[in-house]
Symmetry: C2
Subunit: 362 residues, 2 copies
Amino acid sequence: MARVHNYFAGPAALPLEALKAAQEELLDFRGTGMSVMEISHRSKEFDELHNETISLFKELSGLGDNFKVLLLQGGASLQFAMVPMNFLSEGKSADYILTGAWSKKAIKEAKILGNTRVAGTTEKDGIFSSIPKQEDLDLDNNAVYCHVTSNNTIFGTQWRSFPDTGSVPLVGDMSSDILSRRFDTSRFGVIYAGAQKNLGPSGVTIVAIREDMMEKANEGLLTLLNYKTHIDKNSLFNTPPCFAIYMVNLSLKWVKERGGLDAMEKENNEKAKLIYGTIDGNKDFFRCPIEPESRSFMNVVFRLPNEDLEKKFIEDGKNAGFIGLKGHRSVGGIRVSIYNANTLDSVKDVVEFMKNFATSNG
Amino acid sequence: MARVHNYFAGPAALPLEALKAAQEELLDFRGTGMSVMEISHRSKEFDELHNETISLFKELSGLGDNFKVLLLQGGASLQFAMVPMNFLSEGKSADYILTGAWSKKAIKEAKILGNTRVAGTTEKDGIFSSIPKQEDLDLDNNAVYCHVTSNNTIFGTQWRSFPDTGSVPLVGDMSSDILSRRFDTSRFGVIYAGAQKNLGPSGVTIVAIREDMMEKANEGLLTLLNYKTHIDKNSLFNTPPCFAIYMVNLSLKWVKERGGLDAMEKENNEKAKLIYGTIDGNKDFFRCPIEPESRSFMNVVFRLPNEDLEKKFIEDGKNAGFIGLKGHRSVGGIRVSIYNANTLDSVKDVVEFMKNFATSNG
């Protein structure tokens, strides 16, 4: 079948060039006569790939030299536990800003491990239609960290700029908008992201830890759940998810070839503007439930006049080659996920489809 | 470059047919117009793949219906922690049989979590050249489980038959010999295996749990480290490592097409017999340091008259297309890893190479 327009929220579209490169050398990685899945993680060839991937990520994301970049397994969900396990110590407390389903899960794990405060939320009857404003936050100046979910895939909100937490380091779950825009990384103590939205396939999680965080880290932890294990062994304490790392490598190279982070941000802004413009330009038909300044540039969530039309929109979209337009099962409606690998040309086609659908069904 | 003879200990050779199938549909999984890496783990297409993989594994491995099969991340190393976290309760003790580096790591994690006994070992000055005999074990009849490492990749030993632990359930780390032979699965409470030796690529771990084990499982655990989470959600609580699962699926299909577990075992026995036969038939030149009844049929470890010849053997082997013959850095010597995907024809070529090398250098 011909390639479709893939708007899944994650696992999501990958750069076609990265997929083609992987396909080409699937039986013979870099002239080794083996697949990248078949080579030892202790081999020179894998070591090069591994270090190249870490360097590329640091370079592209603009992380300072005082960050250690880890490539781990378990997804953001395991980081929900590892962050407090490593940093939330006896007698201390951690702040969490609650902006949706993922923050909620992060808070649940932190509460099992230690004192956890909700330092702000806009939740109303289980719905989050905005990001808290600075003045509405109740921050603890002595918190060991303040956790934020940078982008909320389900509700379609995003921190357009991060809160000022003074000397308290931010910890960011950036699974769904990592490498989509520039921001001040130096204010973060930890940044983590499952790869399967903006970085590559599922199965690998990037964790960046600012070195000073480790000075206050907990000790006596289980080996694999201790960041120190992975820092000391450059993420090669145990067998890494080699193929997922390889695909991240190819995806990062694609970002670099396209002009790096600034080029990505420019195109992401353009893509978001196109879709939100179409929604706001057809207010009789489309409605975005998210406050304008909290809107996600990664997951555009909107509603149609009624659920029957939403069903038809998803169905007609599918028939026209637009896959994954259905909103998350917990909120319904429509969701168009526009990560780095969703091209501007494809988004133009979506917008065209939206306009035509509104005209025919409005 | 032409495909080489891959004898890495893991990540290791994959069935060529599985790699070719993956290559063929890398841009278009089962007619979806997307790569298997790009489809949502909540899609019908992924769900089918996921359940198919679990069913195939149960069918091929001969597990009873009273086992739940999970597909997790983190490798066997995370299971070293998860097994005692879930089953080693307050006031109870677990037995571990120490047969090498991997058992040692498993014991280290269990000791952090609770009472742990070493119920037997053959360690002498850090070397393990055999598997303990039943009469040398000091088993605790009240242990919550007895942990064994079924095959020891570094030292080249393997439990040819598992110890009798009475009513105490066995827990087996079978990362390096899963699906290589038939055994009585009903005596095991938990079987776990990183995929990257006999099942597929790195990045996914198969865990089979006998249902009655969960009746005594610990509660209040961190969500992602709780087996119950994954049992209740059929391993789809969070995003699974989709591509690794897909490759396991293709590898399992290959096993089935080749005649299933009995055919694998027959060929594995033949392969092991060929190499050990060559070693024992050239005793002036080759020497296997492992007691005959403890020899691994997966990792054949042997020595040459001196280290210079070993270096030359590895180097000449590489030039002749045999990759990964170097023993583990902690023990030196030669290691030939012959997992399911290492074909009989390739092993015949290795044996030919060994014989020629002995003749030319003996």
